[in-house]
Symmetry: C2
Subunit: 272 residues, 2 copies
């Protein structure tokens, strides 16, 4: 590792790109003083349109990189990877692995809606991960899901509050709203960036569930997350590794993290 991470071992966070920074932000708020190592697989994004086998291979590459860099806990902040590769990641990693699906579902169920809508990438929706978690955890709760392939590019374009996004959202959400969804799980870490348009289209009767803070709560309850700090040195730092240098990532990171990342490195993962 080119840049040594001082002090106690960081918490690792992994996403295909920039979306997982919303989870990093929630984790920093919930666990201030912790250090984080965030890996964005920007050279191979997006994951949401790729096959489960390829997503598993990429996710295992990424997890190995983070484990090799000494993280003590792995947060899979990518919904597609959480949906397609969580058992494989848990089996391959000698540390606790936390996905985003179950925390998001638990947060939605706490709202008490009997009809829950889920939106996500093609990979996430096709995997059925949200649908089966709701069936398992929510008695008497029914679920409908919709893949929204244009939402990630719209978020990446910075059109989170834009008439085109409103129109696309109406197209994707209409069937869920007509059906009477009382809560809508944003099953992709990019989607909170579209919140202004999504709120306008969903209307006041539908609660939007962003899993970022639910994931932060789930992580905080894991003993490894709360291990006593050994040294103040390096604490509270955010280290970012990217597989491709990306101006776009930096722009969004600056916005989400309220400033430019201080420790940034471009890394090559190799093939799994």
């Amino acid at each position: 590792m080119k840049e040594r991470i001082a002090g106690r071992r960081p918490i690792g966070i992994f996403d295909s790109g920039v979306g997982g920074l919303t989870v990093l932000r929630a984790l920093r708020r919930r666990l201030p003083g912790e250090s984080f190592l965030y890996l964005g697989d920007t050279a191979r994004l997006p994951y949401g349109t790729k096959s489960p086998g390829t997503v598993q291979r990429y996710a295992l590459n990424a997890a190995r990189h983070l484990v090799d860099h000494g993280v003590r806990l792995l947060v899979v902040a990518c919904n597609t990877a959480s949906s397609s590769a969580l058992p494989e990641l848990a089996a391959a990693c000698p540390i606790p692995v936390v996905g985003v699906v179950e925390p998001g579902v638990r947060a939605a169920l706490r709202l008490g809606a009997s009809r829950i809508g889920v939106i996500g990438t093609e990979g996430t929706i096709r995997s059925g991960s949200y649908q089966s978690a709701i069936a398992r955890l929510g008695e008497g709760v029914s679920v409908r899901a919709a893949a929204c392939p244009l939402f990630v590019p719209l978020a990446e374009e910075g059109w989170g509050d834009h008439p085109v996004t409103d129109q696309v959202a109406r197209h994707y959400l209409e069937p869920l709203l007509q059906w009477g969804a009382g809560a809508l799980i944003l099953g992709c870490t990019h989607y909170p960036l579209l919140r202004p348009s999504l709120e306008r289209v969903a209307g006041p009767g539908v609660e939007l569930v962003d899993s970022a803070s639910a994931v932060a709560e789930a992580v905080a309850r894991i003993p490894e997350a709360a291990a006593p700090s050994t040294s103040g040195s390096g604490a509270g730092e955010v280290y970012i590794h990217l597989t491709d240098a990306s101006d776009h990532f930096l722009r969004v990171a600056r916005m989400i993290l309220d400033g430019p990342p201080r420790h940034l490195e471009v890394v090559h993962l190799g093939e799994g």
Copy 2:
């Protein structure tokens, strides 16, 4: 190679995904009876948002794969790779390498417009490849370029004739139309799939230049393309290699090639 390509060595075509099939279609029309090996790097698409260094690495991987499989000529059907990696590919390959930029520019110049607009991915536009080819080849011709990041996802979504695409196109094209572009180069092989919306927005006074047939013409003029046939066996076949199994690719391929591909294989390129 799992499936031997019989007869004379095929022409290799490479794209990040499905867009280059428009070039394959034009080549089959221009060179009927030829065999083609098409490689779509679907596991790592899109290229248009990634850094030049990463695009070069991926393009060299892809070219090596095609050369190893015996192609006698390489068509780089991806505008981003043509813009960022053509000299590197030409230096690394022992066969002729044809990109899409110069044929597209020559086709646009033949229309006689004094103001040419170029649209493409962020990577293509940032590279300045079209701008410098027009400056070099077109005396007294001026050029303006616009990156259109949402066009590839819209084409992938199948919204080539859709009010949302019209609205997005108006947003991206307005500055070029106001400026008075007489021709508009579709500097991305996905964009012909958006032609209905693009024609509506550009209006009858602007010629849309799709480089696919221009590339086919350029290829047909290369001696290696016209090498005498050694055997009828395997002639006229299309072999498709993908780095990720993709239902989406198959759907679009069926549409563009007027039927399902007969020879399809998922391959791993490894890292360059």
